[in-house]
Point group: C2
Chain length 298, copies 2
């Protein structure tokens, strides 16, 4: 069980080096993150992309190209397909997005014949280290599923439970986040929350503790819940916040980072291997943490 990102890095190191296939690796930000993860002994990169550009960037950032494989391919879409094939053939342990749009990469991942889908749904999960909470806290889904239906939310929760188990939290405490703590027939997120927490009580969702509807304050604070008259096994000890949709998930993710000083690690899960999808807005540290998380999950 990890309680901060130093421990995340340590846990990742203990797993040994993982082979990471990077689709369209000819991007400086991606290669810097890759170098940081190599320096920490976390990964062996397999760089798929424009060979000349990769070599040039590597020279520029002081990355020794004799240490890894470069697969020359100028077309980013073809890069995605090659990277996924490497995973499927057991030649790589995890996947990372380089200078290719998310859509073609995910198309390659989800392809019925050549893809690597494992669970019913791919979803995004982010872990945060923040000075406003006493342990690592997760948020799902901040970047992938636009308006998940109830069935989708069950898949998102199950994907997340797999993640927590791999970082040593065998029964994560899960809050279904809503604007209020009670059921309001006009607010769909509160209906989903009520159903999901009942499904947990009936043993239909296992290996976790679920409560909801909970608002953010009473999810993270037992006192706040107490003031509202709520008795909850999740309040104050929550490991995972399940947001109602992409609008709320994304704004929470960005608020924690940009208006709360939190550090983040994020991956896409639900395929046979974790996928690192860092964005330009992420700090280098955040990219390193995301790669470390992915190596633990792979």
């Amino acid at each position: 069980m990890i309680s901060n990102f130093d421990e995340l890095i340590r846990l990742a190191k203990s797993k040994g080096k993982k082979r990471i296939a990077i689709a369209a690796a000819d991007d400086e930000a991606v290669l810097i993150a890759c170098k940081m993860a190599m320096d920490q002994g976390l990964i062996i990169p397999i760089l798929i992309g424009n060979q000349n550009k990769i070599k040039k960037i590597c020279a520029h950032i002081g990355m020794d190209i004799s240490q890894f494989e470069i697969i020359p391919q100028d077309d980013p879409v073809a890069c995605s397909r090659i990277a996924v094939r490497y995973i499927k053939e057991g030649k790589a342990d995890l996947l990372m997005k380089g200078l290719v749009s998310t859509a073609p990469l995910l198309q390659a991942v989800l392809n019925k014949d050549s893809g690597i889908r494992k669970n019913p749904l791919l979803s995004h999960i982010a872990l945060f280290q923040t000075s406003y909470y006493h342990k690592i806290i997760g948020v799902t889904d901040a970047a992938m599923n636009i308006a998940p239906c109830l069935e989708d939310k069950i898949s998102i929760i199950k994907n997340a439970i797999e993640v927590f188990q791999k970082i040593g939290i065998l029964k994560p405490k899960i809050a279904i986040l809503c604007p209020i703590e009670s059921v309001n027939e006009k607010i769909e997120s509160t209906l989903h929350a009520a159903i999901l927490s009942t499904m947990y009580k009936r043993g239909q969702i296992m290996n976790c503790v679920i409560d909801g509807p909970l608002a953010l304050d009473n999810a993270i604070s037992k006192e706040a819940a107490f003031h509202k008259g709520i008795q909850s096994d999740v309040s104050g000890e929550v490991d995972l916040l399940v947001t109602s949709d992409l609008n709320s998930g994304n704004v929470l993710y960005k608020s924690l980072i940009f208006m709360g000083g939190a550090k983040a690690a994020a991956v896409i899960v639900g395929a046979s291997v974790p996928i690192v999808l860092t964005s330009r807005a992420d700090s280098e540290e955040s990219k390193l943490h995301s790669i470390a998380l992915a190596t633990i999950l792979s």
Copy 2:
């Protein structure tokens, strides 16, 4: 123009004492906030509620009852009607919720005959002072409108512009918050954002600058916007974040306070006077700031 909450209090003081009608005032938390605002010279309270309880609480917290009017009324719903009548008859300048549910208070406010509705829609607006941004930043709507349609959002924006003008920001910069910075046909918030920013460009929404879709990071940071290739007059100087719905507004509000250390002041606007609707979860300081904001707006 105010840039922090000390200036908000100073501006409120400069407006002279306002008469605040408190519906169901027999609540310790409400009376403590009321006393703080009196001590700052902001208000003259008109307390409507259970007289014995009010006197008992006032004695307990050291509030001199000779300084204000108490209107005895044990029924909270009747208290709400009386408070609204005081506003309508010009005997009070602003309204505050005490120990009564929000629904009956708003019913009294919105009653076609005896109510005090002014604008097409009531909406919630919160102002924040945070160490992660260089000036006061507003969020609307975090507590009132569940799933505002496009027309509702126009009303919410117009309500908010009135608020900013009263605190000296004549043309507030407004970001329509979305999970991404471009239009995605499947994400309604991005469609609303595109339409609202076009309406601004065509002069259909005046006295402001609107841009969107913008994600939180590129709303508050010019650099983040630049990295995404976005040129925006709003980025980095935004005064108001318009959230897509209650789910996202509420999670942003609570994240800023409970996971970002921000201070908040919030009111309901759109009636003939501002309404202070503090909740038990609010700090005493936040309640004082909300009353101060309301006195400025009244």
